[in-house]
């Protein structure tokens, strides 16, 4: 019953948010952009939450999958893969942009997750991102080098489709985390996080579940990258393959409360708000300010906002 109630509340909130662009002027209002960015952050944060918060594998490769999704979209569009189709918010293109990162997630996830533990896995995924960056910069015509691939921005009409797609992906990501973690799979993931050896000896195929979580998160990152490509119209290493896209979700997840469903949402709202405000009020020193915020929050509320008023909120 409680589960039913929270699902209904969540859907009502989503529905309410979906109506915002109809009321607010979607071209002039900063609110639409702010919410769009927040939803994108929620997608990335939930993806990271699934792998790190629930399964306990700290990945620092979010930006790599995000960029892979964006590049997939840009390349499909540039190559005109479906012969004259409309690529702007094309569902097939977006799904493919999610699936390409999944292929990469299997390719690097099986060796890395199978062999590396803890910090070593984090460093390995970081290395993957850096290799990808060099490959994209050096990719010549295929990837557009340091400038990247320009998309025809003439198709842009309004911010509304971006907003709704971001909201949809945020709901999807949250739903995936919610239902996965309330299933047998979720139990397996939490068991792996708590004690890998014990999980393995209870008959859980550790590698299979780790790779599964990793691949699902890669799909979410890739789809979000595709969406962001439709927003920027330029897919370049400087816009996508930067550590920002890894660190912000980590930060938002930890600040909100990792290993919970609601934590990443709260964290994304709060931190996107803080960063946006800092950007408006102290434009030159804004990143300095962000650095201070990260340190202060980690020092004084390392368990996240969710656990502030609910001390006994259980992980998982």
């Amino acid at each position: 019953m409680r589960d039913m109630r929270s699902i209904i509340i969540a859907l009502l909130v989503a529905l309410f948010l979906a109506l915002v662009p109809l009321v607010s002027d979607s071209e002039k209002s900063y609110l639409i952009y702010f919410l769009f960015l927040t939803f994108c952050h929620i997608v990335l944060t939930q993806g990271w939450n699934l792998v790190a918060g629930y399964t306990g594998q700290i990945s620092l490769g979010t930006h790599a999958f995000f960029a892979l999704g964006a590049y997939t979209t840009a390349m499909i569009w540039r190559a005109d893969l479906f012969k004259g189709a409309n690529y702007y918010f094309d569902p097939i293109t977006m799904i493919l942009s999610g699936l390409v990162p999944v292929v990469f997630a299997f390719a690097i996830g099986i060796p890395l997750l199978g062999k590396l533990r803890g910090d070593y896995f984090a460093l390995g995924t970081l290395g993957f991102g850096e290799i990808l960056k060099v490959a994209f910069i050096k990719g010549g015509h295929f990837t557009g080098g340091p400038i990247g691939i320009m998309l025809p921005s003439s198709v842009y009409t309004t911010m509304r489709p971006h907003y709704w797609m971001a909201l949809f992906l945020a709901v999807l990501a949250t739903g995936v985390v919610y239902f996965m973690t309330r299933s047998r799979i979720g139990l397996a993931l939490v068991a792996i996080r708590e004690d890998e050896t014990a999980a393995s000896s209870s008959g859980i195929h550790v590698l299979k579940y780790k790779v599964l979580a990793f691949a699902i998160s890669a799909f979410l990152f890739g789809a979000c990258g595709s969406l962001y490509a439709y927003y920027l119209f330029q897919v370049s290493p400087d816009g996508f393959l930067i550590l920002r896209w890894t660190l912000y979700p980590v930060l938002m997840c930890v600040i909100g409360g990792s290993g919970t469903v609601i934590g990443p949402i709260l964290g994304s709202f709060v931190m996107t708000g803080v960063f946006t405000a800092a950007n408006i009020y102290f434009p030159t020193v804004h990143p300095v300010f962000s650095g201070i915020i990260i340190i202060v929050v980690m020092l004084f509320m390392p368990n996240g906002i969710v656990r502030l008023w609910n001390r006994e909120a259980q992980r998982g």
């Binding site: 700290i58 060796p111 062999k115 070593y120 850096e130 050096k138 980590v250 990792s258 650095g291 340190i295």
Partner: protein, 297 residues
């Protein structure tokens, strides 16, 4: 290209690689000590190194202090900074089970330092040019830049100093004991905080020295540090955790690899090769190349 290739050129590349690799090595030693005792991936190491390079630049341009004299000033300032950073930022995080927190604090510190430097010194690359910057020593047909050689000598001296400190002094022994087994160290009465403070002081102190060595030889900008931290991580993985000389050797190997890769393939790909080797080592020899006893990661 191959017609230019001579033994002399290969040797020149090797020497350049070794000289630059010692910079990675210096950073890696600091990382190794900090990771070994506290399990903190101190990603801001590179940013601290660049900060020290900027201080050296200031001392040189504003007060006309020779960079090698400022080694003493900045080395000791960095020691204090390291102790302060530990007490202020990491003391609480070290005790926590969740290692995300210390990683994120390090990331926050990196953000803070990088952008503070960009505000104070702008994002344009800086370098220090002294009267001896372009002088070099010729041995046969090899040219060795004087400042790079000095950087190498300083790095070796610092490594020897740290090794002696860890082996000969009581607090050094405590640090080593804590990095081997923190529980056991506590049982025999070693206060982890004193050891941790000392470790952080040494790690940051070394980055002060690395900062000076870099500022005299290579141009630097505020965002140079992150790549440098990553390179130091690679050096650390190559050398194996908890070994001071291993970290230095790991740095040298990485420097040589990059120097050769940059020549034979192209400058940009050199980075990818570094990370590729890093991944391979992590997968197949996670204990590092020089460690004989196998410890599980």
């Amino acid at each position: 290209m191959l017609e230019y290739l001579t033994a002399g050129l290969l040797l020149q590349l090797l020497i350049n690689g070794i000289l630059f690799g010692t910079m990675y090595g210096l950073a890696a030693i600091g990382l190794s000590l900090i990771f070994g005792t506290m399990h903190i991936i101190f990603l801001s190491q590179g940013a601290v190194i660049v900060l020290m390079a900027y201080f050296c630049y200031w001392l040189f341009t504003l007060l006309h202090i020779d960079p090698y004299i400022s080694t003493v000033i900045l080395g000791s300032a960095a020691l204090l900074l390291g102790a302060g950073l530990y007490q202020l930022l990491f003391r609480r995080a070290v005790r926590m089970e969740d290692k995300n927190i210390s990683l994120l604090i390090a990331v926050g510190l990196m953000f803070l330092l990088e952008n503070l430097m960009a505000v104070v010194w702008t994002a344009n690359p800086r370098s220090i040019s002294t009267s001896y910057t372009s002088s070099s020593i010729s041995i046969g047909n090899l040219d060795i830049s004087f400042t790079r050689l000095m950087g190498f000598v300083i790095a070796i001296l610092a490594t020897v100093g740290v090794t002696l400190f860890l082996k000969r002094t009581l607090i050094g022994k405590a640090v080593r004991a804590a990095s081997e087994d923190i529980e056991a160290a506590r049982l025999v009465g070693i206060s982890p905080h004193r050891g941790n403070t000392a470790t952080f002081a040494i790690g940051i102190g070394l980055s002060g020295i690395a900062g000076i060595a870099i500022s005299t030889t290579y141009p630097f900008d505020p965002y140079f540090g992150f790549i440098f931290s990553l390179k130091a991580m690679i050096a650390l993985a190559l050398g194996g955790l908890g070994s001071v000389s291993g970290a230095l050797l790991g740095g040298i190997i990485l420097g040589v690899l990059e120097s050769w890769a940059a020549f034979f393939i192209s400058g940009g790909w050199a980075d990818a090769i570094g990370y590729g080797v890093f991944l391979l080592v992590l997968m197949f020899k996670p204990e590092g190349l020089f460690v004989r006893s196998i410890k599980k990661a």
